[in-house]
Symmetry: C2
Subunit: 320 residues, 2 copies
Amino acid sequence: MGEFDLIKRFFERERSTQVGVALGIGDDCAVLQPAAGQQWLVSTDMLVEGRHFLSTVAPELLGHKALAVNLSDLAACGATPRAFTLALALPRADEAFLAGFARGLFALADAHGIALVGGDTTAGPLNICVTVMGECPQGQALLRSGARPGDDIYISGCLGDARLALEQFRGTLSLPGEDFAQVRLAMERPEPRVALGQALRGIASSAIDVSDGLAGDLGHVLVRSGVGAELDFERLPRSRWLAAQPAAVQQLCLLSGGDDYELVFTAPAAQREAVLAAAQASGTAVSRVGHISAEAGLRVLDGSGEKMALQLQSFDHFKA
Amino acid sequence: MGEFDLIKRFFERERSTQVGVALGIGDDCAVLQPAAGQQWLVSTDMLVEGRHFLSTVAPELLGHKALAVNLSDLAACGATPRAFTLALALPRADEAFLAGFARGLFALADAHGIALVGGDTTAGPLNICVTVMGECPQGQALLRSGARPGDDIYISGCLGDARLALEQFRGTLSLPGEDFAQVRLAMERPEPRVALGQALRGIASSAIDVSDGLAGDLGHVLVRSGVGAELDFERLPRSRWLAAQPAAVQQLCLLSGGDDYELVFTAPAAQREAVLAAAQASGTAVSRVGHISAEAGLRVLDGSGEKMALQLQSFDHFKA
């Protein structure tokens, strides 16, 4: 199977009319058709074996995740997904791998109405690079820079399960088989919060997706917005599997977990009802977990309102 | 040096007002601002060591080439470059490499007025994935599908020098030192024909950039357009270094060379003066090398108009 056969067989699909796409795969460039009054949002993520996924992952789940982590960036900005490109380095043209990968990729793409419009395939150590594009009405994108003192802080879904699964793979803890199956799903099949992001346009003051751990990612919002924050540790949303772990494991997974792909966002207190309505409309659980303050830095408070002593570390690809 | 320091130090630059870019690096997504009546064109290319570049290449040239091969796709569509993302997997955060890479990358970016608006960095086997975005007035993008019987076929610059350099690296031929320096530049520092592509809007009927060899890439145009072509072998533009090589080497390098990043395009005979004016306005040499015919397939003719017997092969990453 050659390069062009591979693209044709696994990645070219029947042309369909797709909002925002004038021309898809098959030319030097794809042609996008912006609608009047819309801005286009772009994000890119690269996945490397052993860093972003384990060699044991099912190809279908890998296809899902490669797109999911990118859709999560569109979600964090409140954008409507439109188009994506896929660049793929493969050690060899393995048909079973490619069939599974494409199945997982397109199932998620179809669920969000986003079209594969171009790409590149090459031989090389396994590497997956997806670039997503989405639309958002002029000036309505949710950004990291909009948090203001007094705003509430919210988190979608629950945090830490993906890290719990990773720690099990690493052998630092031992979960019962059925619990492990659940947290492994959180790690290998994250659901990007696209509908919630769109529902929060005009309501949230800032947003980011949690990919490197809550403390680090919320930290980006605080720096960009020039503010600080207090988080109530007990309010941080966690699964019953994580809630059953020792305090130190809970702290690690909730605050420095990584790979969560939940949204952390802020909104003025006057928007509490609107936030709940957005959560309901998008079918996504949302928890209010703290507030923004004028004093720089992040403070995590225990059940009695005391500042917890924590060593917070965000995931960094070039640090141990 | 951590991941975020690395981005800040080498890839974040002072914000400047850039046409089409509302928000650059630093959020979950970049925000692009389409102008009225414009379409956005997107392309992505992934570069892997040993496949697309040799380990001996200077980092500055690699930074140049990673963007150049992508700009070449925008050029082939006649688009004006606006924004690009960069995803980078690095074995380690090597400062000398990164400084050189960024220097080469931004020198070319600045020359074409294109802004780095987002990206991703991770540890892993060296891999560079660039996605470019450009603008083109509605319906004016040059596509592979527009060639019509009777159209002339043109090529920019000259073909085959990059392949000549590769063959020298492989040890299959031996060029004098100064000649090698010249052809090595063609391989390591290709100049994307962006100005020519834009000048050909409304003049050329189809275009593609030559990255996998003329025969293969022109073949894509023929298939998409439902036509065939005759090429005059003697008219194929070649450097004096290539012209000094045996006939078999010239055939290989001109027809199946790869890595040329020249444009091959078609235009109705009535546009000959307009093509020359576009070439002149963009400061790019252009050669008329054949014509499109109704009969499918590509025929290469020798000096006396006889069909040459050739075994043409396009570069394929998954074939020997």
